[in-house]
Symmetry: C5
Subunit: 86 residues, 5 copies
């Protein structure tokens, strides 16, 4: 997983029907994380813009959020409220 900040959201009216009802947030990974840039992640925990979140990537996002059949490869799965060494 990586930690990032929610910096926005995108809306797609025309989309794969298995994505109906999903909210797509733009996550900017923290600078020292293993990532090259922003990710669009489905929100699984009710995260808002400005919050620091935990993002799961790959099949973990899809299966871990019970969206097994949806085209989802990233999901916000936690809101960080404490940390050591971040």
């Amino acid at each position: 997983m990586i930690v990032g900040k929610v910096v926005g959201s995108v809306v797609a009216t025309r989309k794969n029907e298995r994505l109906l009802g999903s909210k797509f947030m733009i996550v900017e990974p923290l600078k020292n994380m293993d990532n090259n840039g922003r990710i669009i992640a489905v929100d699984n925990v009710g995260a808002g813009i400005g919050e620091t979140v935990l993002v799961a990537l790959g099949s973990a996002a899809r299966i871990g959020c019970a969206m097994n059949e949806a085209p989802v490869d990233a999901a916000i799965v936690g809101i960080i409220d404490n940390s050591i060494g971040l």
Copy 2:
């Protein structure tokens, strides 16, 4: 997922038979996205050149687009029509 712009398409007459009927679009990720360059994505929503799209990567593309047995690792799954902070 990442957001990118459809900038072209490729045609492969000789191909894996499970790809018959698929349309392969060239997607250029937006500059600040987590990607090193262009992706060839199967079109799942009727996207055209110049449109800004949502792309699912990995097994999410294959399974989320009901192409479970096809050699597909990227799919256009939405057309972006609104955004905050993109």
Copy 3:
């Protein structure tokens, strides 16, 4: 897998319920490893800050740690106590 050093941890009170009880460690990959930066990994072996660990990524983390249905894409699966050429 990659080898890294545990440099901290994060806490998320609000999170996906399948992550309840998991401990999230911040792992800094060794400089010459195939990674761009830090990873948040679930601890599967009781690793502490400062230890050099083996981290499995992707579906291997989820399935290999018997967390098949959890949104986990990285796990600490060993503590390195000897090496040649690291």
Copy 4:
């Protein structure tokens, strides 16, 4: 998927038995593709050196080429014969 050029091949006499009969091609991704360098891909369509090909990565290669139990993470799945904007 990515598009690349077949630039060579490798032979491994001693190998995992599930790879028996597979042909391993070296593919150099086109410069603007989402890749850091060359990939070794199993040939699924009879591609030759110098041809421009479509390569599927990850589980898509394995499952999409009906090699579900083989250690294959990349496969040539089409030969590009036409394109717009490549």
Copy 5:
């Protein structure tokens, strides 16, 4: 897959029990391969330090080496003994 050179090994006495008996080799990918650095790969073919090997990544390593339930995301699956254009 990628091609690399075995440059060392690591030992983890305390580890996930599904890794018991596995040998962890350090593989340095060849310079022009699609990788940012070293990988720790399970040895599936009896590779030694200094040998040039074929490495499968992701679920292909786990499933292709019949370690379906182990936290393994990279495996040495062949020893390169001949090549064109490498």
